[in-house]
Subunit: 418 residues, 2 copies
């Protein structure tokens, strides 16, 4: 079960119906592709499984991709570490043109047992192609070599440059629909291919997302619309996600990209947007919490917690001499203490007059993960519609790219032909 | 070399002298202990090295501690991964009462080769003591057992409950001065003990910090004061650290704790504070950057980049068929491309009218790391003085703790005596 509880007074549902109508229009227009992924993408999973039978001896899958091409799979795989099937390949990420992290990751890989997934919607992301070249040079395997196509595959838009590259050299290619934006693409091939290869239950992931889709579009659950309305119209312009478990670390990063890149936009010369912050509980009770409680009242907080956690253990009910102050009334489990910490912190936040809500997941499995992901995608789209902006573009990041191209001569093809 | 360049008009130094005087008073009062650590703590390193000779066969050191007890060592060890001496123990962290992360970490350890450092200033941090009990139960080694003192040590305040516990069972104990706050304690035993044990050059770390101290207190460098003044008096209430390299991930977390917990305070009934955000370049150019450029103008940005990076590699100067758009003018290194990305992004941020500055480190070694850490500690203290708040307490987080105690009965000693 997925439950979102508000500790604020939400707007009346009737007054918000007009926003639901607008989302319905966007949904039915099919201009925004991610809405439909929970139903359309089971065939990708089948395709991966068929293909996987032909892959021999692969124990490592490496995503070479940045932003929306890597964050989704990272979020899901980190949340579902406990659910990974034994003996399936490990998942790695090359997402930064940073020699320190590239060396650290490559040192862990044996080329003969590794599959590199080059992921880029446009197909010519500078960092991604540059890292791919470094990999080829490091292992001395180039597109002309026989083993190349056994160790490289691509995920991209149909007809992109990367798709043509794959065709040229006979690489396996998976496709993202043109109308699915990078940061909304985790439930497309972008996420499903690596996650399926690495033994995660991607069918259940899609099923969870499909349940959220049906709750929203068919059953008319207004929770997301009420929450978005509170965010868009409240005084607070910072939205904190306080996620209780280290397993949410990459999910927080995924949320930050989704929220920041979708909702930070210019509109008629005005700069608008909501600022995302991701925290991990209980750790950040000893860090950011002080600022939430005593700092400026510019933040809303959403607590996420998991009721039953895999591998939960008892905190032994013995007392250590001189440390009796840290004893508990009775023996409880670690997950119980973590949940109680979340509840106590949440109460202190609510009592400080901060706009607060709480998401509880019965457990952290693929189904609940799919639900949560789709929920946040819908929430983002709804906020975008209420703000009157285009949530699916990112014009602001193009300026820096142009400056870089001018300096480094991208598009000036002076490189040696292989 | 450490250089901080402003791309904004700072206030005139003469007008800021009064703030320098106030910091000097705080410094000379010796009420705030961290100021003096770069000179006083070399003896801790010697003590660790002497003790280490008596430790047999340890290949893993585990920090059991939360917030200020873990974030500093995590920041430094992550920054200096490339500098770690071969054959020295690996460093692990148990910082969350989260069964998923506890199981994942404990599964990597062999008890007979592991040293657990229980770190808590107060000595009775609930999470830390609870995790310690879980460790004891998991490995069936309790304080009464002979091998206990070979595998557990403590870092705490003198005379704390944890200190008494150590005395009771003959554990090695290292001490943090009473006047050194947790989040300012990385250059005390809190950070120096684990980092020295794991083969990091902690002498150079202190030397770098001592250089920053001398630049500020003796040579009268006003950069920090100018920067703090701009932050405290500017329109922006969010301070973004955009750090170029995955190596800065934990440093960003450390910065967030330092900034948020020190500068988010109530003052005369008013809620004041500055909100920290940590980003990693180039990754977050594909995430948060859009919001910085097109979103509300409520953010300042500091870029941190490393000029020369260890293990740097060339991006091969060949062209891949159909991917020619991602070719570069000439063969450059990964670090060069990363730096050029930082510069291009920085220019786009400056051109958007955002308060921007840039820190360049010649390289990422222990010396520069020590300088950077002390620099940010001084910057935090200076902002606190300008805001007229106490940067060294955290009253806001006590409310949640009290609620938890009420519920779980901490202080109600119902546990079995061992």
């Amino acid at each position: 079960m997925f439950v979102n509880t508000f500790y604020f007074q939400p707007a009346d549902c009737d007054s918000l119906k007009k926003f639901k109508d607008r989302i319905d229009i966007e949904y039915h227009s099919r201009s925004v592709g991610y809405y439909h992924l929970p139903n359309s993408e089971f065939k990708v999973i089948e395709d991966v499984k068929d293909w996987q039978n032909s892959l021999e001896n692969i124990d490592s899958v490496v995503i070479v991709g940045v932003g929306g091409s890597s964050l989704g799979a990272k979020a899901v795989s980190t949340m579902l570490t406990c659910d990974k099937k034994f003996g399936t390949p490990n998942l790695f990420f090359l997402e930064n043109i940073d020699p320190i992290s590239i060396n650290a990751t490559l040192a862990k890989l044996k080329f003969s047992k590794t599959l590199f997934l080059l992921i880029s919607k446009s197909g010519t992301t500078l960092d991604t192609v540059s890292i791919a070249k470094i990999i080829m040079e490091r292992f001395k395997v180039y597109p002309e070599n026989k083993e190349f196509k056994e160790h490289f595959a691509v995920i991209t838009d149909k007809n992109s440059a990367l798709c043509e590259f794959a065709n040229e050299y006979g690489l396996k290619a998976f496709f993202i629909s043109q109308n699915v934006g990078g940061r909304f693409s985790v439930l497309s091939a972008t996420g499903l291919v690596p996650l399926t290869l690495c033994g995660f239950n991607t069918e259940a992931l899609l099923e969870g997302a499909a349940k959220c889709k049906s709750d929203f579009f068919e059953k008319g659950d207004m929770t997301i619309i009420q929450k978005a309305y509170t965010y868009v119209n409240g005084e607070e312009n910072i939205n904190v996600l306080f996620s209780y478990s280290n397993a949410f670390k990459a999910f927080n990063e995924w949320y930050i990209q989704l929220w920041a890149e979708s909702l930070g936009k210019k509109k008629g010369g005005k700069n608008i947007g909501l600022t995302p912050i991701g925290l991990i509980g209980a750790i950040d009770q000893h860090s950011f919490l002080q600022l939430i409680i005593d700092g400026p009242k510019d933040k809303s907080v959403t607590f996420i917690r998991i009721k039953e956690m895999k591998g939960d253990m008892s905190i032994p009910n013995f007392s250590l001499k001189h440390l009796e102050k840290a004893d508990l009334k009775s023996s409880i489990s670690a997950a119980k203490l973590l949940n109680e910490q979340a509840l106590a912190t949440m109460k202190s936040v609510i009592d400080s007059g901060i706009t607060t809500d709480e998401i509880t997941l019965d457990k952290l499995d693929a189904y609940h993960t799919g639900y949560l992901i789709y929920y946040y995608e819908l929430l983002t789209s709804t906020c975008g519609i209420m703000l009157g902006i285009d949530s699916y573009n990112q014009p602001g990041v193009e300026i820096g790219k142009k400056i870089l191209i001018k300096k480094l001569g991208k598009y000036v093809n002076a490189a040696k032909k292989l």
